[in-house]
Subunit: 411 residues, 2 copies
């Protein structure tokens, strides 16, 4: 891939993603296999005035080896120093820039119990940090960059170098890198386009949304009073705009935990730690999943739902037009950062505090009292189709179309 | 380089270097550019029964960028979480395996003041850990692996890939990888060969050694009562043998801090953070450097000597035969791990506690009272030549030849 284009991409992450400010420390998370792009990010961050760029390297080969070969006890421990590290970075006002290049199948042969125990240990230990991230107390952003294994999964049968190149092209297309000479300017416009949709939804303050399509989804999702639709750029607590995800095409808010009733049918497979849960559906009553089925990997779905109390309630409802670039590409990325932008979706588990008025300043108890779901998990699943209709129901009972045939009514 | 040979090398580090035991955690320190060898080390460590292999990645490109571009204040801080990380690893009984591939010129354009301040901050913060390392409370080992920049420095003008390959060959030759089919067995014999020399020196309990050669070195180095000559494999506090350095050809002990008198002339350039101090000499009186000169980079030598009080006293005296493999190769590696095995040398700064009887259990005060030097620095410089003579002086005044014409008398 052309170095100047890679540098533009790195710069997009720094300027639009984290919106790094002079004097700010920056933490770059990246796999060692993508050191090239990580170094470009570091360069761009210093150009933006970063006080220091701290590299937080990972290596998926060694991670997999650990999950396959380390002693059992390792997976119940998340070391104290690593918790303090996040605390130190959070307190110093760091921006977190992350490059995601995970092999979707990396953990395929790992005992799910090990992943579950590690997931619980790390979620509990890093709860404060994750709260800071989800409440936008810190600025953070994630982009994708291909690894050999990921490219081979997306383009099976294509020779290695060509598959890498094609995945770069797909990531650039999805990330709106090809819409003009200056991606930073493209994203400024992209963020403006979000505004009209957010203004419509936040202006209506719907009591509920009703989703219906031809594959069986028929569900009413109540929204809590004071809910906020978010999307595109977010404003961090310091008032500075940033884009947590590149790409992003969704507008989203939190459902009322106890107000979800009906049937949600998965419109695409749910990828979880290298396994695909296929042709599944969930039945909700008063917010809770009361039954479910899946043609494939139902046991994994069960595992997700049983993680904790909140894992069987919704924490996010997101609207994505069937005409969005990623939906149009029709490519399965096997990566949520991309695939969640291909269709309307819900998430099981934790709600984003920023999706309710003043949520970033509220305690866990206050958020719960307002109807927000809490959990150690946050797992997206797609329900959107080309014939999805969504109707907004106001407090006075008035019904307003929101989606017709898979796309926003023209707002 | 042939993968099976690389794997043998990784295995040498695991089995002979750290001597990893079943159930032991292992910390692997490596540059991201050498991820291939790091992963082989991780594999071999799990084969040896490691409970967990923790990767501690670095990237010299980003390190250099930080030293050149980060804010000044960064260099006075060593974060608390990083101190606790070492504490956690030390307490869990981890073995530290490190792959050194530093570009010798990496810090050439960095302001020395930044390096000095960073050096002081990190030395002070990691004092406990460094004490554990130097006292062999933990097992640790360092090998070399080429980087492009390092290979280009050692073989200037040789094309990239060929230079890398030649540096691998040189590292293997220096590390005694070519002496037989099984490097682990070669090193068992190598460690046995050290024993005769150590028995001779430790049996004599010399009061002093007198060094003299034709380039002007003429110096008497007193040794403290209870000094211990070490070399080759060390025994960690848990009684398990390990080899902190691969390669290693030196036998070494600590001088009596106040007992060094005379003139030491550098026989090879002293490489310090990418710069070469050339044609230098130091005059010692009652242990302390009272004057010095250098034809090139005398200011850097001054900087070293002024680091702290102990930096102008010796902390190590080491004997290396002029017939050792690395001396025979006649190659300047620009890396102390290798170059210190090319000639007899002294070190300015901290003495190894293991070089005095029971030193690993003694406090800083006790070590000082026994005549050991303490400092935040430990900087080797070469004095050995092909005509070096060394004479041992016993407590009763008897003189015994130790080195004649650059080599051990036949022991």
């Amino acid at each position: 891939m052309d170095r100047s284009k890679l540098r533009q991409f790195a710069n997009l992450l720094v300027r639009v993603g984290g919106n790094v400010q002079p004097g700010q420390p920056v933490v770059v998370g990246c796999d060692v296999a993508n050191a090239g792009i990580a170094r470009l990010i570091a360069e761009c961050a210093y150009d933006a005035g970063a006080s220091e760029v701290i590299m937080n390297w990972s290596d998926e080969v060694c991670s997999q080896m650990k999950f396959l070969r380390a002693e059992e006890k390792v997976f119940d421990v998340y070391p104290d120093w690593a918790v303090r590290r996040f605390g130190h970075w959070d307190e110093s006002g760091a921006a977190y820039l992350h490059v995601d290049s995970d092999d979707p199948d990396l953990m395929k042969n790992v005992a799910p119990e090990r992943l579950r125990r590690h997931g619980i240990a790390s979620s509990l230990a890093t709860k404060e940090h994750m709260r800071a991230v989800m409440a936008n107390s810190v600025r953070w952003s994630v982009i994708g960059a291909p690894s050999g294994a990921w490219a081979a999964k997306v383009f099976p049968g294509v020779p290695g170098e060509e598959a890498l190149e094609r995945l770069w092209e797909a990531i650039f297309e999805a990330s709106r890198m090809n819409e003009g000479p200056d991606p930073v300017e493209t994203w400024r416009r992209h963020n403006e386009n979000f505004k009209a949709r957010l203004d419509f939804l936040n202006g209506h303050k719907f009591r509920a949304l009703k989703f219906r399509n031809s594959i069986g989804t028929d569900i009413s999702v109540e929204l809590p009073e004071g809910h906020v639709w978010c999307g595109g750029g977010d404003r961090a607590r310091d008032g500075i705009l940033f884009n947590p995800n590149i790409p992003t095409e969704e507008v989203y808010t939190m459902p009322l935990k106890s107000g979800v009733n009906g049937r949600a049918v998965g419109s695409k497979p749910l990828q979880f730690r290298g396994k695909l849960i296929e042709n599944f559906e969930l039945i909700f009553r008063d917010g809770k999943v009361v039954s479910y089925k899946a043609e494939k990997n139902g046991a994994i779905l069960k595992n997700i739902l049983e993680n904790d109390e909140g894992a069987s309630y919704l924490g996010e409802v997101a609207l994505v037009a069937d005409t969005s670039p990623i939906a149009r590409m029709g490519l399965m990325f096997y990566n949520t950062l991309f695939d969640e932008n291909a269709a309307c979706h819900f998430a099981l588990g934790k709600a984003y505090p920023s999706c309710i008025e003043g949520g970033g300043d509220k305690s866990e108890e206050e958020l719960r009292d307002l109807g927000a779901n809490d959990s150690l998990v946050h797992e997206d699943f797609m329900v959107g189709t080309a014939d999805m209709s969504i109707t907004g129901v106001s407090r006075d009972g008035t019904e307003t179309p929101v989606f017709v045939r898979g796309d926003f009514i023209s707002i």
